[in-house]
């Protein structure tokens, strides 16, 4: 298969994926025990209110008609109004999603900035004390729940040392980054641990590979070999990991945003559950799944660009 054909096939896969995501979210929303309308209105609903909401949600039509209407709504960006905020769900998500994306992006950046150099230190000192120390620290990081790490950082750096704000988001880009500093470290910690672990193993694997022996035999200096050959190959593995882990990062963002009162989609999700704001929950689940499948696609494309073996 040529690279072009591989690319087209990979792009075409996204269509059935989106359709399946749509079906899953639709089914999920219909699983509400009892009646969705009653769940939304609670005890307060009069018969007239129930009838009006049932009609406005289209729940009086057949299940197939409902599904077609749902797909039309998704395609045209109409996903209903938030019951709590009384504005279109799409507008609400469009306001909040950039916050979560900035948080996740910063978390990935921090994690890579810490994990990549430490992975090299660990791999080049394999099974000596720097390696054991780095691995022990990250092992503890992997075993620490996000909300606990967040609370500790909040207590030490925000409440006691007053170096960072206790929560919120600020108004300018610099204020955003300042406010998201502790949350991003919190969110990035376990990801850094995973990257470190995998990168260390990848470097150890590459160091012993034949082409590195060959490069050394050609007389290339150690640092050149490390940068040009080892780093490049180890990075391919890391890019894959970022793509695979984007889902758990978004899940972690839900908790991080709740701990630090960050106004992103994660906090919106938790708030919506307690407000029984089902249109928001449905739309967010849909939006995040679409986001993840796009991230998978992007990962494959970057991998193809980095690794000439893919798609050949």
């Amino acid at each position: 298969m040529s690279r072009g054909a591989w690319l087209l096939a990979r792009l075409a896969q996204i269509v059935p994926t989106f359709l399946l995501i749509g079906i899953a979210v639709f089914v999920l929303a219909r699983l509400l025990p009892g009646n969705a309308v009653m769940a939304m209105l609670g005890e307060r609903g009069t018969d007239e209110m129930v009838a009006r909401l049932t009609a406005s949600l289209g729940l009086d039509k057949s299940i197939f008609a409902q599904f077609v209407a749902f797909l039309e709504g998704v395609a045209s960006g109409r996903l209903g109004d938030s019951l709590a905020f009384r504005i279109p769900v799409t507008r609400l998500i469009a306001e909040r999603l950039p916050v979560t994306m900035l948080l996740t992006g910063l978390a990935v950046a921090f994690a890579l900035a810490a994990a990549v150099p430490l992975a090299f230190v660990a791999a080049l000192n394999a099974n000596r004390w720097p390696d054991l120390l780095i691995r022990a620290i990250f092992q503890v990081g992997l075993s620490s729940p996000i909300f606990y790490v967040g609370l500790v950082l909040l207590t030490v750096f925000a409440a006691w040392l007053r170096l960072f704000p206790v929560g919120g988001y600020g108004d300018t880009m610099w204020e955003h980054i300042y406010h998201l500093f502790l949350p991003a470290i919190t969110l990035g910690l376990s990801f850094a641990a995973i990257v470190m672990r995998n990168l260390r193993a990848a470097i150890l694997g590459v160091i012993n590979a034949e082409y590195v022996d060959f490069a050394r035999a050609k007389g290339l200096r150690g640092s050149v070999i490390l940068l040009r050959h080892v780093l490049r190959n180890a990075l391919i593995a890391t890019v894959t990991l970022v793509g695979l882990e984007i889902g758990s990062l978004l899940g972690g963002a839900v908790i991080t945003e709740t701990v630090f009162a960050v106004p992103g989609v994660g906090r919106l999700m938790v708030d919506s559950i307690f407000a029984r704001d089902y249109p928001v929950i449905q739309a967010l689940t849909l939006a995040l799944a679409v986001f993840v499948s796009l991230a998978f696609l992007l990962t494959d494309l970057v991998q193809m660009w980095l690794d000439p073996r893919v798609g050949r």
Binding site: L20, P33, Q139, L151, T155, G251, I273, F296
Partner: protein
């Protein structure tokens, strides 16, 4: 078989202690975990209360110990239910292949597209908060890695000579599947499950913290931390000690899982 490595022994020691706390909390707890003590409200850690007390004067060491039972239950159930479902499905599609394999395969891809925690939260939102619904949600979302592992193992095993021998002997398919293939294919699944228990503790306590898992007044580590979060400037010990306990429990499971994988030489 190699000699058990030190990290594995350390992990097993932590798990042993956790089981002891879960089985006989009264032996280890200095106080009744639910008893109010109005003479010691928000008391900092001391010899009388090593972990301090909360806003009702409840002893946090005793509460952390009594929570071990719930969190151990979370670790086991949140692994056992998705593990059993996934292993069964994986065994069947690995054996039969064909259409069932294709359909379940697409389903696995689909579930993997949703961020794990987001889908669990969405399902808990629909079913309502609480431990039982949390297990249902984790099972719906969490069976995929077990199914994948079991499927690939079953596909290897079914070409083994002993399976051909079973067929010649005229054994029934269920007998071949459950008496012969399953015991040979289960090892990587079990090792994965131990590591997954570490994640299950983190997941369960996270949902407890968010108010979606165990419900107060049940003592669960995440719930204890949620109780303490409003006091983190004035009485940080309320959240800090139960949090440290979670980290140690998580370490116990992940050290055990990694150690077992090394010992049994299971590739991951």
């Amino acid at each position: 078989m190699k000699r058990p490595p030190t990290p594995l022994l350390g992990g097993l020691a932590i798990l042993g202690l956790m089981v002891a706390f879960a089985v006989a909390p009264d032996v280890f707890s200095p106080y009744d975990p639910l008893a109010f003590d109005f003479s010691a409200l928000l008391a900092p850690p001391s010899w009388a209360h090593p972990f301090g007390t909360d806003q009702f004067g409840r002893d946090l060491l005793s509460r952390s110990i009594s929570a071990a039972a719930i969190d151990l239950q979370i670790a086991v159930f949140a692994t056992f239910f998705p593990g059993t479902l996934g292993a069964l499905l994986g065994l069947l599609i690995g054996w039969y292949g064909g259409l069932a394999d294709a359909v379940i395969g697409r389903l696995m891809d689909l579930v993997a597209t949703f961020p794990f925690l987001v889908l669990v939260i969405a399902i808990v939102a629909i079913l309502g908060p609480g431990l039982a619904n949390m297990y249902v949600a984790i099972t719906i979302v969490g069976w995929v890695p077990y199914a994948r592992l079991m499927r690939s193992e079953a596909m290897v095993q079914k070409n083994g000579e002993y399976v051909a021998a079973c067929k010649v002997l005229g054994y029934s398919t269920p007998r071949i599947l459950f008496r012969h293939i399953l015991p040979n294919a289960i090892r990587p699944v079990l090792v994965y499950a131990v590591t997954a228990m570490a994640l299950a503790i983190l997941l369960g306590s996270s949902l407890g913290y968010l108010g979606l898992g165990a419900q107060p007044p049940t003592a669960e580590w995440g719930v204890l931390i949620a109780d303490g979060k409003n006091f983190f400037t004035t009485a940080p010990w309320i959240a800090l000690f139960p949090g440290t306990v979670i980290v140690i429990a998580g370490l116990g499971f992940s050290l055990t899982g990694d150690g077992l994988a090394d010992l049994l030489e299971v590739k991951r």
